[in-house]
Assembly symmetry: C2
Homo-oligomer: 242 residues x 2
Amino acid sequence: MRLRPLVRVCLSTALLPTFKVEEYVVVIIDILRATTSFAVVLDRGATEIRPVPSLRACRALKRQGYLTAAERGAQKVLGYDFGNSPFDFLNADLRGKKVAFTTTNGTRALWNARKAKQIVAGAFVNMSVLLNWLRQQEDPVLLVCSGWKDHVNLEDTLFAGAVATELEGDFRVNDDATLIAMSLYQMADHRKKYYLEHSAHFERLVELGMQRDVKYSLRRDLHPVLPYYRDGALVNLLSVQV
Amino acid sequence: MRLRPLVRVCLSTALLPTFKVEEYVVVIIDILRATTSFAVVLDRGATEIRPVPSLRACRALKRQGYLTAAERGAQKVLGYDFGNSPFDFLNADLRGKKVAFTTTNGTRALWNARKAKQIVAGAFVNMSVLLNWLRQQEDPVLLVCSGWKDHVNLEDTLFAGAVATELEGDFRVNDDATLIAMSLYQMADHRKKYYLEHSAHFERLVELGMQRDVKYSLRRDLHPVLPYYRDGALVNLLSVQV
């Protein structure tokens, strides 16, 4: 019989140093919008996504033939091929392409987690694929919420709570942050409207005209891929051998 | 008409650097057990509690006539007058006494928040007094959960959620961490037993024979005092003029 490994939640990138990441399979979560868009990009056929910390690094990769996606302050940066909205990629033909990607929060979480046993990216749009893969792992799982400028946010916590709730049974939960995320997820069904009206982050995105992105990012299983981090880039584990 | 100030939650001391504490009235929360015991100590008549970072500093104050309370790894340290269990103080006559107090988590949160506009300590046992006082403040309120070794914990988050829920109406909530804490509080009624069985921190305390402390710390309004931080010590704001 398989010993049930732990599943834990890290509620903000700022809390990551309090975990020994090298003991975990890490799931990077940045629902609005990096990890949602990662799933779209790989589903559109891209062979890799290379997250980079700066616009400069992004431009350098352009010269090597990469397409470029750049977001700052929730906006697409002028002069790059894409922003980080899932809609930027939905109709793009990315077969065989490589995409360099720089975002405010998502890239940093990946870098900070780089010593983990394995790293994947998760979002509602690829949730079932993620869950199936996690259930095959023997190691403890750490769900890392990117948050927003180091603050805990609703949508990443909600997703972590959803994943932990689904994994319970196959995994052990004995961690307070995990219980908090699970309670949020279980609560959300009843009070989704309340949350949407009160959340600063949702408000900000709505002001920027991104209701569409929010709605899309909360839909489940639209993009059955698994972004898997190796050699500094994310590839779709379902279409490659690692 | 009074403009409604914000109420926000900081889920762990490790996240405190992401807030500008100097803009807030800060409530320090360490339900198990520092802030619960602070309320007991002041209710027993002590004129001040002086939180200190080390055992050495605690002993130095003993020579100046202070009583000493010292906890490390959830246990009372030998050679000091008290540990940090509320039961250590419940029957002590502390009228006119000063108490030097060193604990694992609570002291550090106070130190990190020292630049706040005002600092008070909160727990279920002095919750109504705290709420009344907060409602008279004009400044935004930051509820700081001490957590456990930088990890987010259940009982501090629960209390922050309870306070935010009570303040809503008089205060504005537009913060994701605050919504998460509030959802936990609203969920807890239905699932308290589940939480208690699954929480690592509760488990740890129960193993140490501290069920009694946990139960006591979750009771409301047993000690109608308000620990208020000034000149490096906590005094009962209800019995002194500031």
